[in-house]
């Protein structure tokens, strides 16, 4: 595997969490082993002279989407990471590489999601060497699912896994809360609530690659304009037999709608 394509580790990122279902977060037990949030909270009790955003948990209210087409997949995400009301990173790429032709979209607690992605990236490397060929998308999704399920009380991250392999073509898998399910397309993150109606209405079977890319860009644009926790630029990754193509669409190039 190409070393230069390894996912970056962002030491400065503290974490981001999915704010869609606040009920989920509030009923969760207080032990957060894998996320930095617990440590941050204790710090807040001792010294209150620092700005609020330093002691707030870093959240990426997010919008992520992945969709299959015949011959590959398209993944998309926004780029906003917030801590309280501050945006700590406005250009974060939430589409993380798991293997050459398998990517995952991160949402929920950033620390948790990035850690899962790194772990699975390592495990997939080992697995692909063992079998001597490119791993299946289903294998990557299963590895993510295993971690999500085993640590489901401690983690609050949701990864959508999508990619291309020669056995199954383009595939999209959701791993929310430790389930594993293949779907024609999937949306996630806090911004996804606002676009369920749009994607239900606009999705058609057997769309072409360009149609899928346009669908993803439109969905991201709508969600980013309605969700305060999503914004910035739109990142797109298109994966097919030939490889993965990354693209970034700046804010002013995104499609606009009747009230903008």
């Amino acid at each position: 595997m190409d070393i230069s394509k390894r996912p970056q580790t962002f030491e400065r990122q503290k974490g981001f969490s999915n704010t869609v279902r606040t009920e989920q977060v509030s009923t969760r037990p207080a032990t957060y082993y894998l996320s930095g949030a617990k440590i941050k909270r204790f710090k807040m009790l001792e010294e209150s002279s620092e700005p609020g955003w330093l002691s707030e948990e870093v959240k990426t209210g997010t919008t992520i989407i992945a969709i299959e087409f015949d011959g590959g997949v398209v993944l998309g995400s926004d780029s906003r990471v917030s801590a309280g009301e501050t945006v700590v990173n406005r250009v974060m790429n939430k589409l993380s590489l798991l293997h050459d032709k398998i990517y995952c979209a991160l949402s929920g607690s950033a620390a948790d999601a990035q850690t899962i992605a790194e772990m699975v990236n390592y495990q997939l490397d080992v697995h692909s060497i063992e079998v001597g060929e490119d791993p299946q998308v289903r294998s990557a999704a299963t590895l993510v699912k295993n971690i999500s399920y085993k640590y489901k009380e401690e983690l609050s991250a949701h990864l959508i896994v999508a990619g291309w392999d020669k056995r199954g073509g383009g595939q999209v898998y959701v791993t929310l809360n430790g389930l594993l399910s293949r779907q024609p397309f999937a949306v996630g993150g806090s911004g996804s609530a606002y676009v369920y109606g749009f994607v239900d209405a606009e999705y058609r079977k057997a769309m072409s690659k360009e149609d899928c890319q346009q669908f993803v860009v439109n969905t991201l644009s709508l969600a980013m304009s309605r969700d305060g926790s999503s914004g910035g630029v739109a990142y797109l990754v298109t994966i097919d037999e030939k490889g993965a193509e990354e693209k970034c669409i700046l804010g002013n190039e995104l499609p606009t709608f009747y009230d903008q």
Binding site: L179, A186, Y196, G197, F198, V199, D200, A201, N218, F257
Partner: protein, 231 residues
């Protein structure tokens, strides 16, 4: 179609009062989807028909489109009791005002009456209301008065718990200058999408078109609603 699981929903398996069903202790709510659209010559309003007490559907054929005056309606979301009480009070006040004026009241007047009441009693009330209608001065108008008591006029507005899911659809599909039939079709689709996704919305879709000529009501039954299958 994303797999959405609400893992954190608190379902009390053993209630302290087992002789009274759990839903009888819950407040009656119209978790709901309501919307209103302006067009040249009037407005189209729509709502679902589900009223819930907790997980029990108390009324599956509710009419959430309440007449306030001949050409002014309101769409109610939030607590059923609160919205009914506020709507009754405003209906009385508007009727009185209209007699004093000796002409049909303005939609803006009705909307401001709602806003004053919702703002004054904002801590006690849980009411999100969309006021829509036609008057001679400004034609079709839609005013939204969400919880908290603000007021703003918009060409198209959605409200209620199901509204979150259709903001994207509304933004992309609404175009200024639609005809009455196009507005009705747009509302039907939006309500169907929201009812599909929101557990607190469902039943039938009730629509009404208000123009200078008067009122035209429609009901779209469950099996007649547009289907958006993506499996």
């Amino acid at each position: 179609m994303a797999a959405y699981m609400s893992a954190g929903r608190s379902a009390n398996a053993f209630s302290t009062h087992d002789f009274v069903p759990e839903w009888a202790q819950e407040e009656v709510s119209t978790g709901t989807t309501i919307m209103a659209v302006e067009f040249d010559g009037g407005v189209v309003i729509g709502a679902d028909s589900r009223t819930t007490t907790g997980a029990y559907i108390a009324n599956r054929v509710t009419d959430k489109l309440t007449p306030i005056h001949d050409h002014i309606f309101c769409c109610r979301s939030g607590s059923a009791a609160d919205t009914q009480a506020v709507a009754d009070a405003v209906t009385y006040q508007l009727g009185f005002h209209s007699i004093e004026l000796d002409e049909p009241p303005l939609v803006q007047t009705a909307a401001n009456l709602f806003q004053q009441m919702c703002y004054r009693y904002r801590e006690e009330l849980m009411a999100g209301i969309i006021v829509a209608g036609w008057d001679k001065r400004r034609g079709g108008q839609v005013y939204t008065v969400p919880m908290g008591g603000m007021i703003v006029r918009q060409p198209v507005s959605v409200g209620g718990s199901g509204s979150s899911y259709i903001y994207g659809f509304m933004d992309s599909n609404y175009k200024p200058g639609m005809t009455k039939e196009e507005c009705l079709h747009f509302c039907t689709q939006a309500l169907a999408l929201a009812m599909e996704r929101d557990g607190s919305s469902g039943g039938v879709a009730r629509l009404a078109a208000i123009t200078e000529e008067g009122l035209e009501r429609r009901v779209v039954l469950g099996h007649q609603l547009p289907k958006f299958s993506n499996t």
